[in-house]
Symmetry: C2
Subunit: 198 residues, 2 copies
């Protein structure tokens, strides 16, 4: 109920909140970005995250073994300052924001005859390391944005994402094993945990 009332809001008050939330992120770019919250709980979607550093795309990824019929693409972006720090140290600094953008896929688009291409955004999720905001889970928290939503609702600490990332993330509860350009830095700095993601 809370979720639908937040994202389905059509009243003037709700509109003002969304507009304010968007303007709060406008002046910040990828190198200077720090997490912004609304009402102290909901993450404001970084306006220019599509110009952040791209880590990788997967398609139809699943950890349950049941592939979907119309597999979505999953693009992952990170703020530039955190990316630079990871390359230097193999660890994520405080104020790291990883954004997972889930897009529908299509096949017969334009002259494409097979394979799949990306289309509309289905949802966005964020994985944020902010010790001033989250005091457990190493400072990490997860947020979910519906398609077109500017505010990310925090996942409960009991959500599967926390335990799964804790158990299987190669580096600092993140899935560095799926980001080819980061694996070398993590291994060089001894922060790549081979055993936790078998």
């Amino acid at each position: 109920m809370k979720r639908s009332s937040l994202y389905g809001m059509g009243c003037v008050t709700g509109l003002v909140i969304v507009l304010f939330a968007r303007s709060a992120a406008t002046a910040q770019d990828s190198a200077q970005y720090t997490p912004q919250y609304s009402n102290g709980t909901h993450l404001v979607l970084p306006k220019d995250y599509r110009q952040w550093v791209f880590l990788s795309s997967g398609i139809g990824m699943t950890y349950s073994g049941t592939p979907g019929e119309n597999p979505p693409f999953e693009n992952v972006f990170v703020n530039a300052a955190a990316h630079q720090e990871f390359l230097k140290t193999g660890t994520w600094p405080d104020k790291t924001i990883l954004l997972l953008e889930i897009r529908k896929s299509e096949s017969k688009v334009s002259i494409n005859k097979a394979g799949r291409v990306q289309s509309n955004v289905q949802a966005i999720e964020a994985h944020v390391k902010d010790s001033s905001h989250s005091t457990d889970s190493g400072g990490w928290a997860f947020y979910g944005f519906p398609a077109g939503g500017a505010l990310g609702r925090p996942f409960e600490k009991t959500a599967d994402c926390f335990s799964c990332h804790q158990q299987n993330g190669a580096t600092d509860t993140t899935f560095v094993q799926f980001y080819p350009t980061l694996v070398e830095a993590a291994k060089a700095h001894g922060t790549y945990n081979e055993t936790e993601h078998k």
Copy 2:
């Protein structure tokens, strides 16, 4: 023969050329980048292109109708200055560089059970608009880099890429129809050609 002698070079002279080519691009970032050439013909791979603006990924895309068995991912990046100009005007400025990074895909990696994730780079291709270097095809030229190669060999003007992009590219011989975040800007500026990519 020329291709194998260039990319297969193991002699000291060849090594010096590669090292020089890499250092030439080091000081330039995505916002200031301009194309650099070696011997006046071969494009120097921009060192930090993975931190450029990501446009989209496809998987197993083919225009011939024959899908491959082990479909590669195709990531497309563009330099930040050109991206900003495109959003403002719906056109690509001179010195635009689009980089197509082709990566192998794998499925059962870590805890992933289905779908596909990205692995090693197979090859890189560049589509460069540089009127001071290419006097025909609207200033555009194509270059091909082998995996790990720092120098891109120019495609002949008779190569299929020129005619295919000319006939099917939605905007200025580029496949904007496959880049979801650019379609709106092109349509708003009247530069999106609906008829040329059916």
